[in-house]
């Protein structure tokens, strides 16, 4: 579970020296369809190069694209989740440019009439969302790792033609932290839809940020720079913050921001300018004559609306408003689908336990224990929602103490232990028979006359020694409050 999402909504955009940042995002989402956007080749990641190819995705002479129906359905789901308007007839275009990763020398994308537009996800407006195809992957052999100066360049066409949805936001974001938080919400939302793996390291979700700054109060946009393809939202946050700072210093020193594409190196914290070839690029967009307009039927639109699951943003407000879970924990849980599902599984175990108590256990003790034991991946955890639920129940009804609960949790995370069994084997059940506990209290007072006398003469703090003695005797199975009550009773307080 990621930390830090608890810092609340967007942080203030205005910087101390009178500038505010204006940020828009372009997000490419690889759809997890069975086959490619315009041919029948399988999608893959990490397979032997060039085995998932055919004349169509290799751009052979004479081939024609045939749109993938599933990709269109996934696109409509994303459009519905982002509350977009769907164009009755959207148009595919050819975006022309020469590069070895672009087999036809044009990418089939959408241009003036995208699949979806005018949407919103929480505080950020969605400008548009459109369908397109991914390029092939290039590997540059030699020292540079770039095409210039490499000994050779290899092209793997397995990725060529993978369906993509490109989502473009309005410039509604104001800080790096907000970019990260909103990005995580978007990722959670798309993951919830089940239309993409949204794995940034593998490139199934790629995010570019357009960053500019302007004086607070100004409504004009400054010159923007584009930050390309960071492989985590955390790096993107740092990159955006670094770029905001760079632009601030430039402008403060009387300089000008130059439109360019930047790369942020997370290890050095430095920004590098990439080639500014895009600036002069003329993509010569042309309506794709090989495809007819994309006109979703009412049935397709209905199906998309109906199959929309509860989305993270809605889930977060339900947790907050209906379950009384604090904002921070509600976001933490709902922005990561598997955590939300796990939480709800735990919750379902015992409806008698207050949801906020369950949320505390899941986001607090349990998440901390996973981290402490060095494995943050919930998917690899040995603890089932049911077993965590039964642990929380035992604590909630006072069958074991909170302290015992934490030690049981430790062995659950480490070994996947059954909490009931651990409680039984270690005899952790609290002493509920007050007669038995009373005996132990009495003998503790007798065995510790010094502290007992101090308490009687008004030193309340001295009671700690007596409580400790009782706890030692009961091996932590006694309820602290009850022990205190009994001690006071027998010390005649």
């Amino acid at each position: 579970m990621s930390q830090g999402a608890s810092s609340g909504g967007g942080t203030a955009g205005a910087t101390a020296d009178g500038y505010e940042a204006v940020i828009g995002l372009e997000i490419h989402v690889q759809l997890s369809t069975e086959t490619k956007m315009f041919c029948g080749c399988r999608l893959s990641f990490g397979d032997e190069p060039n085995i998932h190819t055919c004349p169509i995705c290799l751009g052979h002479p004479g081939v024609l694209p045939v749109p993938n129906r599933r990709a269109i359905e996934f696109g409509l789901l994303i459009a519905a989740a982002l509350d977009c308007e769907v164009a009755p007839r959207s148009i595919f275009h050819r975006k022309n440019y020469f590069y070895p990763d672009n087999p036809k020398a044009y990418q089939i994308s959408q241009f003036d009439i995208p699949l979806a537009s005018d949407g919103r996800l929480n505080e950020v407006r969605i400008h548009r969302a459109h369908l397109e195809e991914d390029a092939a992957k290039m590997i540059h052999v030699g020292t540079s790792g770039r095409i210039q100066g490499s000994d050779a360049s290899l092209v793997d066409f397995n990725r060529a033609g993978t369906p993509l949805v490109e989502i473009v936001t309005e410039p509604d974001l104001r800080s790096g932290a907000q970019v990260r938080e909103w990005g995580q919400l978007l990722r959670a939302t798309i993951k919830q839809l089940g239309v993409s793996d949204v794995n940034m390291e593998e490139g199934s979700l790629r995010c570019d940020a357009n960053v500019s700054i302007r004086p607070v109060g100004s409504s004009e946009l400054g010159t923007k720079t584009e930050m390309k393809n960071m492989n985590s939202f955390r790096y993107l946050e740092r990159g955006v913050e670094a770029e905001i700072e760079r632009q601030k210093q430039l402008l403060s020193a009387g300089g000008r921001v130059v439109q360019e594409t930047l790369h942020f190196d997370p290890s050095s914290g430095e920004l590098h300018s990439l080639r500014s070839k895009e600036e002069s690029h003329d993509y010569r967009y042309l309506p794709e004559p090989d495809l007819v307009p994309l006109a979703p039927t009412p049935e397709m639109l209905e199906a998309a609306a109906e199959s929309l699951p509860e989305l993270p943003a809605a889930r977060a407000s339900r947790y907050r408003d209906e379950l009384g879970i604090p904002e921070a924990a509600a976001q933490l849980l709902s922005f990561e689908t598997e955590w939300a599902d796990f939480f709800e599984g735990v919750l379902a175990h015992d409806e008698g336990v207050e949801p906020r108590v369950v949320a505390n256990w899941v986001t607090g003790e349990f998440a901390a224990e996973l981290r402490r034991q060095g494995d943050q991946e919930l998917s690899r955890s040995k603890v089932s929602a049911d077993s965590l639920g039964s642990l929380i129940s035992m604590v909630a009804v006072g069958r074991i103490s909170h302290a015992s609960g934490k030690s049981v949790l430790e062995s659950m995370v480490a070994e996947g232990a059954d909490p009931r069994q651990v409680v039984e084997e270690q005899g952790l059940e609290q002493i509920s028979d007050s007669g038995e506990l009373e005996k132990i209290v009495k003998s503790a007072i007798e065995a510790n006359p010094g502290p007992a006398e101090q308490v009687r003469s008004g030193n309340q703090k001295a009671i700690g020694a007596l409580v400790g003695a009782v706890m030692k005797e009961t091996r932590g199975r006694a309820d602290g409050g009850e022990v205190n009550r009994l001690l006071k009773k027998h010390l005649d307080l």
Binding site: P55, L58, G59, H60, P61, G62, V63, L64, P65, V66, P67, R94, N96, F98, P100, P103, K104, A105, Y106, I147, S153, V155, D282, R284, Y285, L286, P289, D290, L291, V292
Partner: protein, 484 residues
Amino acid sequence: MAEGDLTKPTAAATGLLISSGEVSSDEILEAWIERAAGDDLNAYLWRATGEQAQNGVEGSGSGPLAGVPVAIKDIFCTQGVPTTAASKILQGYLPPYDATAVSRLAKAGMPMLGKMNMDEFAMGSSNENSAYGPALNPWDRGRVPGGSSGGSAAAVAGGLAPWALGTDTGGSIRQPAALCGIVGLKPTYGSISRYGMIAFASSLDQCGPITRDVTDAALLLGVLEGRDEMDSTSVGISGGISSPSASDLSGLVFGVPVGLLGEGVEPGVRAVFDATLDRISSLGGKIEEIDLPHAGHGISAYYVLAPAEASTNLSRYDGVRYGSRAPSSGLVDMYEQTRSAGFGPEVKRRIMLGTYALSSGYYDAYYGRAQRVRTMIVRDFESAFADVDFVVTPTSPSVAFRLGEKTEDPWTMYLNDLFTVPMSLAGIPAISIPAGLAPPAGGGPDLPVGFQIAAPAFREQKLLEAAFALESAIGFDGSPARIP
């Protein structure tokens, strides 16, 4: 039947000979392979051996066309068989798949005789833009066969193939058929799959038959048409196609776009056209003057739209994955050297034209405006067809011209398409049938004149019926061209 006569019957008649058991399909194929081997018209770019011709052919001996060989324009991808589009840039290219049209022919049992010469990437009206030299007109070897399907037309007219598959973007089936004295049909856009047809201008390209007579054209169209899931723009012709049998034209109205025919038509061509109109009347058809007010701008619109699409279609020939790659230093140099060496001058001219037309800032002035003209031409035909059944014109303003006669001036060459381009822009079907002979403008022996009939979209059957009735009445004798 005597050995030498096996190549004389039309394709339809040949199919009957085979299905009746009178001749074996092997004998037919052998006879045609021998004819093809004697190609003195530079019509073939690749010729099949008997075994190669039968590759992938199904159902030999069954079906009305089983065993009838066919020649394929070299613009169709044929698996494992050289496919160049008459360009050096595809020298040595062996496609890994068959075009849908090609596999439909194979499925009907038709062996492939070979791959036919053409203008490079179908850009041209004379076949002189082939990287492998022009095909020659069998009526006069000093003259062009027309283009771009010049090799296909020359072979059919010259008796080197019973029939052929061509493609037509702005007249590339009809004009060479006219110049060679045979039949060429451009069907409605979308009636035949374009999958595997090397793209020139995707919104205009359409494949179709080049045949000796209208009956053969109908037969071949019947095999080729149909929706193909590999081509999103294909729909097929509902009801299919049957053999035409009409004997008169009574009740049918033929519209003559007089405005379009104003200038540039050779007197001999005009005379044959007028005589054909008279013949239509004598068959009971009615002639009416009509107006296609924007058709005259067709050439201008076409030479923006087609190059624009071509410029993106031909970008894939970059030396990266297949075809030729020139020696080079670095990526940009590889693109430049490969494409400079691989494309001929006309292809380069059109790539540059099209690239310019699509450039940012010019798009609306050129491509956008040309699209609007295209829409107006579509409407012109729609309103014409409200009053008439067909629109008729000469197929080409002139008879076959001499090799080299028009290569210096692209615009003069482009004017060959004046009467064929409007139908391409409108996407409607049009057929060219030989209507007679006329002397060339500069003198010399008489040469064939084509008569073009256009019909509303997907009315191919009606078009073929009318063409059949007219063809029978004309009784054109194409044999001088076929017997050297």
